[in-house]
């Protein structure tokens, strides 16, 4: 059965989504009962896949429908994608457990529909990561997008307009990607990534290839919310239901960056991406702008979720910049940061959810006294904050380390400066919150003992939260293993 694992990671959630859709009508609580084992199976299977890929040290290629690649669709699970698969399934599993209560509160009589969309969303993301076919990627992208739109639009208030903008801009992004694939198809006649990669280097002179490249990349940039095209992101994440934004913020943009890495390295091949077309410098400058603007805008926000969304925008700049530095260090940093940032973002968003589990906390000023009431959540929040700032031994430091090294190696000092600047801004941002959470209600003179009732979130939320926070440090300590055994194999050898 193990040779069918690539299919299982898609089929199991798909089937469970259908089951949820049917049985959820009958009983609300059954949704979670179906979803949890499904996600557990997915997580285990992706770990097995990951293990297999690493031990055998070669990609697993699975022919869907039994047709071998350029004709049929193939799953191409290599070091990079198996890593991201584990990441996605792990994040989802943690998130699923953590938000159980929140979901029931937020979607009272539509829980089954929500869980169906939720699982489909994750399925889409898993498929995006696993697929080796450029067009199949688009279809899966749309699954993830449409379910994402629906989940975001479920909140009341400004969510509608934010979601509408997301739909419009997201469609532009996806369509541009599709157009880019069309351009590639026009000149190569193939849709399989490996096949394209073998044909494209012979087409260096064609003007279509750079056009395809630019169009694809712009499409993906829209989807990932890189700075000048980020318009949809902050509002969508801010006004989405908290159980949705906590899932989407860690996963959507990261998966899009994964796609960018994949397209740049495995479709257009490093030769085209970094030597012939050479967009690197321009893209890195865009990333610099993204980092700086994201940080500055985050600084001016009063709403915590919005602030975090802008941080996400800045983080996107990190990864894009790292990728387009075009050297091994930078790309390693970018890939490492995909992993780290997903966990970091999950942790911080979940911490915010946990903070608001008894009292609605949106604005920064609402956080008064949060440390006293919820010490564990506060500790986790601090860990996540420290990781985002980039302090060892949390994982955020190490990816930043690689990114900065890459920037220095490429001589792109502006990128390095932007990274450092953003770290400083993050520090200011988080310590502003921590300060408020730590101080406000004790502004009277010291000496009086305040007895605040400890009102921690439910253990269902707290335990995943703590695990995720521990993951931050564990990931940091095992950076070396990750880099030498996984990421260095994921980067093509021609990149130095």
């Amino acid at each position: 059965m193990t040779q069918h694992l690539p299919a299982i990671i898609i089929v199991v959630p798909l089937l469970s989504a259908l089951l949820v859709a049917v049985f959820g009508w009958i009983k609300k609580t059954i949704c979670f009962v179906i979803a949890l084992p499904a996600m557990g199976i997915v997580f285990l299977s992706s770990i097995v896949l990951f293990y297999k890929v690493i031990t055998e040290n070669q990609p697993i290629i699975y022919f869907l429908g039994g047709w071998s690649p350029p004709v049929g669709i193939a799953y191409n699970i290599d070091h990079l994608s198996s890593l991201v698969l584990v990441l996605i399934s792990g994040v989802t599993l943690a998130h699923l457990i953590a938000t159980r209560q929140t979901v029931i509160e937020e979607f009272t009589n539509k829980v089954s529909a929500f869980y169906t969309l939720y699982i489909l969303f994750v399925t889409g993301l898993m498929g995006i990561v696993a697929t080796g076919d450029a067009f199949n990627l688009y279809v899966l992208l749309e699954i993830a997008s449409i379910t994402g739109y629906a989940m975001i639009g479920m909140n009341s208030g400004r969510a509608y307009l934010a979601c509408f903008n997301y739909i419009i801009i997201g469609t532009i992004g996806a369509c541009l990607y599709l157009l880019g694939v069309g351009y590639i198809y026009l000149v190569t006649g193939s849709l399989n990534m490996l096949d394209i990669a073998s044909i494209l280097p012979g087409l260096v002179d064609s003007k279509v290839v750079p056009a395809a490249f630019i169009i694809c990349m712009v499409g993906l940039m829209v989807k990932m919310g890189l700075f000048p095209l980020h318009g949809w992101l902050p509002n969508a994440y801010t006004y989405a239901p908290s159980s949705v934004s906590t899932l989407m913020a860690p996963l959507t943009t990261k998966v899009m960056i994964y796609v960018m890495v994949r397209v740049a390295l495995y479709v257009f091949t490093p030769v085209l991406s970094f030597s012939v077309i050479k967009p690197g410098n321009g893209f890195t400058w865009i990333a610099v702008a993204a980092i700086i603007m994201g940080s500055l805008m985050a600084l001016s926000q009063q709403n915590i979720k919005k602030m975090l969304s802008y941080i996400v925008i800045a983080e996107v700049g990190y990864m894009v910049g790292g990728l387009w530095l075009g050297n091994r260090m930078g790309i390693t940093g970018a890939i490492l940061h995909i992993v780290n940032d997903a966990v970091m973002t999950l942790c911080i968003f979940l911490a915010v959810v946990s903070f608001s589990s008894y009292k609605k906390r949106d604005k920064l000023s609402d956080f008064q006294g949060a440390f006293k009431e919820m010490p564990v959540t506060a500790a986790v929040f601090c860990v996540a904050a420290i990781s985002i700032i980039g302090v060892p031994p949390t994982c955020g430091f190490f990816s930043k380390w690689y990114l900065i090294s890459g920037g220095l190696a490429a001589g792109h000092y502006a990128f390095v400066a932007a990274l450092l600047f953003s770290s400083l801004i993050n520090m200011v941002l988080f310590f502003r919150i921590i300060e408020i959470a730590y101080f406000e209600p004790f502004s009277d003179h010291h000496g009086k003992k305040h007895h605040v009732k400890i009102a921690e979130a439910s253990p269902g939320l707290l335990i995943p939260l703590i695990i995720v926070a521990c993951m931050l440090i564990i990931l940091g300590l095992y950076t070396d293993e990750l880099v030498t055994h996984v990421i260095s194999h994921a980067i093509p050898a021609e990149i130095v």
Binding site: H4, A7, V11, L14, L15, L18, A21, V22, W25, Y62, F63, L64, G65, G66, W67, P70, V71, G72, I73, N109, K110, A113, F114, T116, L117, L120, T123, G124, G127, D133, F135, N136, V139, L140, E142, I143, I146, T147, Y149, A150, G153, M154, Y183, Y185, L186, V187, T188, G189, S190, L191, I199, S206, K207, V208, A211, A212, I214, I215
Partner: protein, 276 residues
């Protein structure tokens, strides 16, 4: 804003125009797109799957995985529409309006009055009062079975002529939508209940995925229909052909149900009382 938009659009347009310089000419038989992969499909599809319509063969077999997710996209859209719009709690209206269908005469029944619920003569209408239009209703009544039959024909003959699960499913859905438009949303809901519709959505996708899983259980790769040969009692090539049909039926059911779901929810803004 207008000018800015125009400038952006013009810049994008000119960039793309620049990209077209190196395009192969339109309809050039020797372009890479026509010579690299597609000859394989054209020349061997019939041999591999016994389906003359190459598009169907490629859609449901060679790239069946895409189509599975295409169905899932539609399923997700229907579900999304339901999820976003459906409103369950409603106040009971003070006055119930019942229309005698053949004549178009409306009874206004105040709270507590005797309600002709089970009569097939009367239909309940809500706030918007529409006269009974004999011509439209009768024509649609006559037409709908034929539309539905045609839809099933399209699904069944996707192998030999254009069409297939999706087109047939849309026409099926359109037939029901026509019923809902010409009669009433309630009348349509009496035939296709909401919950039934939801089950159909899932069932359609389930047929598709289930076929794939069956292939998996038979020991072949996911969606490799030739593995179904022992079950269907045919040779692998015909098994592919039948597998395609099964899958298309699944797609048709799912698409029909989703189209109905979209219409139900959009036309009544989620209340599902009275449609267009």
């Amino acid at each position: 804003m207008k000018k800015l938009g125009l400038i952006i659009v013009l810049i994008c347009g000119s960039l793309m125009l620049y990209g077209t310089i190196d395009f192969p000419d339109w309809a050039d038989p020797s372009s890479p797109a026509s010579t690299h992969l597609s000859p394989y499909f054209i020349e061997t599809a019939m041999h591999d799957t016994a389906v003359p319509n190459i598009v169907t063969a490629v859609l449901a077999d060679y790239r069946g995985y895409d189509t599975m997710f295409e169905t899932t996209v539609i399923f997700a859209a229907g579900l999304a529409c339901f999820f976003l719009l459906r409103r369950f709690q409603r106040r009971a209206p003070d006055v119930n309006l019942f229309r005698h269908m053949p004549t178009g005469i409306t009874l206004r029944i105040k709270k507590g009055g005797k309600v002709p619920v089970d009569s097939s003569e009367f239909e309940r209408i809500d706030s918007i009062w529409v006269p009974y239009d004999l011509i439209i209703k009768t024509t649609c009544r006559l037409l709908i079975p034929f539309i539905l039959l045609f839809a099933l024909y399209v699904i069944a003959h996707g192998h030999h002529s254009p069409g297939g699960g999706f087109q047939g499913g849309v026409i099926l859905g359109a037939g029901i939508i026509l019923y809902a438009i010409s009669h009433n949303l309630r009348a349509a809901k009496a035939r296709i209940k909401e919950r039934f519709d939801a089950y159909m959505c899932s069932a359609g996708v389930f047929i598709y995925v289930g076929t794939g899983v069956l292939c998996l259980l038979m020991g072949a790769n996911f969606l490799d229909y030739s593995a179904l040969a022992p079950l269907l009692g045919t040779d692998p090539i015909m098994a592919r052909s039948h597998g395609i049909l099964i899958v298309e039926i699944g797609v048709g059911i799912a698409v029909m149900a989703v189209m109905i779901c979209l219409y139900y929810n959009l036309s009544s803004a989620g209340r599902q009382d009275e449609g267009l």
